[in-house]
Assembly symmetry: C2
Homo-oligomer: 234 residues x 2
DNA sequence: TGTATGCAATATGTATACAATATAAGGCAG
DNA sequence: CTGCCTTATATTGTATACATATTGCATACA
């Protein structure tokens, strides 16, 4: 199909932005991307326009497209707004979910579980993204969905390290997140709105802690490096 | 300036959609619009892409752009979601408003007041749109703003009759809305978040009633037309 | 008469060439 | 040597021509 080239390109760029392969603020060169995906600049520019509409990039007149930044102001808004959006999306998902969507959610969760068990952190992050995206679809609320999608972009970018746990305690958190997904599916299936909202807020609290640490990591040890290590340095 | 042609076109189409000159569901022909605005199809397509990103139109592959519809599902979501978004935007506006924005808001309100006094309903609706749009800017919350803007599109479209009052009682409602704007400005200026939220919810309740009547108008009188009128018909 | 099929007309999608704008380098004056 | 202006280069914006897809109509057949 000739039209799939554009959507393929769209997916590829989205993926690169979510995985931080294209870091926040990076420039997207039309000519270069056009060559990369084997299409002329005209359709590629339309892809960038679409990505701008979805909140993945910012386009400035005569300056091209840049991956949306993750500055202080954004972070602040992010942590401030996420519970509001997530909780209300969850509530609406209970009301409006369809059976095909429920099935898609279960499949997505299977993929997610698989990725976490294989310690495939990149895949886990992407499947987690998809999981919450489907819950957004379930809400069937065309006003909240744009907000949710923008939140998910930054959520996924911020949580890139979440599924790459460094300690057993952190592995336990990932397992807990996975269990919460299962419980959320059950709540949505049974239309238990209050339960779903509650779970969503717990789920948020879990990842919030980890994300804030990604932004503001633990300080390095104050002691100087040991003599041996210093010897090998540079 | 050469670049302003595109933004001019953008504004024109936005205005036509908000004023229902382009009714929901209507088709946007690229070639026709291109000729109308004196530009080729390439930049015009980019305008349509941008409008799609803002929620004014829907673009379907190989089928072009249509003005977003106002169907049942949308309405339901609209009335369900508006208080949530408006209230939180108002709260954030109190926290984050800048002085230039405050000034812009006051000017916008002057224009609004003028339009209502002149019974210029079209202008009133547009200035009301701008007023709430500025409050959105004040929130400085990049996650909620897309939701707000989508709400405002439909709010403005639904309220086209609001400022065209048919009775003295309805004129009083418009005056009350205008007063609420003044009070909202004061609350935002003085950072009284709770007051602003409260006013916003009252403001919403006021227009909600009128809008629902626009959607579901009072039934026509059951009695047949009088003989005299019948004689003149067709 | 109803339906299916193929063709024509129209509209959208893409490629390429050219124009305008921004960025960076280099030269000149102070 | 520094600051600014000029010019060269790279990148984005626009127009046009062509390719492809959809839609409607006409015609043929059941």
């Amino acid at each position: 199909m000739t039209t799939s080239r554009k959507s393929q390109c769209l997916d590829a760029i989205r993926h690169q932005i979510l995985s931080l392969a294209l870091p926040p603020g990076s420039d997207l060169d039309e000519a270069k991307l056009g060559a990369e995906f084997g299409m002329s600049r005209t359709p590629l520019r339309e892809v960038l326009q679409k990505l701008a509409g979805e909140g993945f990039v910012n386009i400035t007149q005569n300056k091209g497209a840049k991956v949306v930044s993750m500055d202080m102001a954004m972070m602040r808004s992010f942590f401030q707004t996420a519970p509001l959006i997530y909780a209300n999306i969850a509530r609406l998902a209970c009301e409006n979910r369809s059976l095909p969507q429920l099935k898609a959610l279960k499949i997505s969760q299977q993929h997610f579980k698989m990725a976490t068990r294989n310690n495939d952190s990149a895949q886990a992050a992407m499947h987690n993204h998809q999981f919450h995206h489907i819950i957004g679809d379930m809400s069937q609320n065309c006003y909240l969905i744009p907000s949710l999608q923008r939140m998910l972009i930054d959520h996924t970018r911020l949580s890139q390290t979440f599924y790459r746990p460094a300690s057993p305690a952190e592995s336990a958190l990932v397992r807990q997140a996975c269990e919460q997904h299962d419980q959320m599916i059950a709540a949505i299936e049974n239309r238990h709105a209050e339960v779903a909202v509650d779970l969503t807020l717990q789920h948020w609290a879990l990842s919030q802690d980890r994300m804030e640490r990604f932004v503001r990591p633990d300080p390095l040890p104050v002691e100087l490096a040991s003599p041996k290590e210093t010897a090998n340095a540079i």
